[in-house]
Amino acid sequence: MDYIADGFKAAFNLLISMDAEVYSVIGLSLVVSTLSALIAGLFGTVIGIYTGLKKFKGKKLYARILYTMMGLPPVVVGLLVAILLSRRGPFGSMELIFTPTAMVIAQVILVTPIVTGIVFNVAVKRGREVYELGKTLGGRPADLLGLFFKELKIELLAAFVTGFGRAVSEVGAVMIVGGNIKGHTRVMTTYIAMNNSMGNYAQSIAMAIVLLSLSFLANAFVYRAAGEEI
């Protein structure tokens, strides 16, 4: 059991030693996951609000498909994106495979249904009420949108944080489309997986601590920004 305690000690030393590789991995993870969450957040919010408020035939079936998509296996998404972006694939000429861009694409595909599903659910449950109030008080579309974001900001932010959490913590898709190339596409999760398989527990534990801390900080920041006492 000593190796676990040793791992934590070594992890602490690694973090305070300002190891360049560790911090470049953390930096890339943050950039890729934040960008993915922002893009997915934009798509997911627009689609979720629109489909949640709109009355249309087949809405129940749509909801079921959407909720199923929320659980897309990352390796399947990674495989799909890798096939599309590989040299022989339809988008091979763009030379995106094994780049951070490919990782963002894969994570956007993975996270968009999650954000859409959460926002859709919020829009169905509370959005109609807000929409009807705004309408009957004479609000224009821009006023309604403003009111919607104001009233449901905590839920919308929670959707974004959930999306970010999913993006920053998944390993399957980024491993396949990014390739875990040192200094280029290596992110926290692939770093942990690789070091674990090599028996470098200190590095794995150090990165796991960072990963957990980032998730915690992201949540704390967002809920504070929302001004809610939770």
């Binding site: 009420e129 807000v130 009807e132 109030l133 309408k135 009957t136 008080l137 004479g138 609000g139 224009r140 006023d143 009111l147 104001k150 009233e151």
Partner: protein, 221 residues
């Protein structure tokens, strides 16, 4: 605002909610809308407010079919009003803000609206922390502050005590007298309809009849 219902048909699944041929509600009336539970009173009001579409037929507002600009002249007040996550003052000011009413004028109208509902002390309270009765008073202040010409009210006093109901009715009738707005008030109370309304709309089995309150032609609960 004159409201005309033309050949209105609405179904919920296979059930026919309305099949109203033609009905004219002259401008400036204060109409009570009554009928058994599930008769479709809320749906009728929501359709008149432009929130739901009929399967067939239409409403005419001063001779015009529904268009989006009517949202600025009509309002719908539900049984359990939604309070925005803001202060009471901000809730009541919202309809004025979206109409571009300036700061001083807006503040003055908000203050008058709150005083009329006898809730000026609630101005800075967070609206989501209010009781059901207080919320309904705020909702009425918010609904009247922009002086709509057509008021559609869905059992607005259902959660109020006797004293608050009296205040509610008094303010509603005062507003009606002062502005000549057309009001449709859904109620389950025959006494309330008698107190407030001159004419009664009775909705049952998809049909609607209008009668004077002096000689109601239906039994009410």
């Amino acid at each position: 605002m004159e409201l005309i219902i033309e050949q209105l048909v609405k179904r919920h699944g296979k059930r026919l909610l309305f099949d109203v041929e033609n009905l004219r509600l002259p401008s400036g009336g204060l109409y009570g809308l009554m009928g058994p539970n599930g008769a479709g009173k809320t749906t009728l009001l929501k359709m008149a407010a432009g929130l739901e579409k009929p399967d067939h037929g239409r409403f005419l507002y001063d001779g015009r079919a529904w268009h989006k600009s009517l949202f600025t002249e009509t309002t719908y007040l539900s049984q359990k009003a939604y309070m925005m996550n803001a202060t009471v003052e901000e809730n009541v000011a919202w309809p004025l803000e979206v109409r571009g009413v300036s700061g001083t004028e807006r503040d003055k109208r908000v203050r008058i609206a709150l005083e009329r509902m006898e809730i000026p002390e609630l101005a800075s309270r967070k609206a989501t922390t209010l009781s059901g009765g207080e919320s309904q008073k705020v909702a009425l202040a918010r609904a009247l502050v922009f002086e709509p010409r057509l008021l559609l009210m869905d059992e607005p006093s259902a959660s109020l005590d006797r004293q608050a109901t009296e205040l509610f009715e008094s303010r509603l009738m005062q507003y009606h007298r002062e502005t000549g707005a057309t009001v449709i008030l859904v109620t389950h109370s025959a006494e309330q309809a008698q107190r407030c309304c001159k004419e009664l709309l009775w909705l049952q089995d998809g049909k609607m009849e209008i009668s004077s309150m002096a000689t109601p032609n239906q039994n009410t609960r």
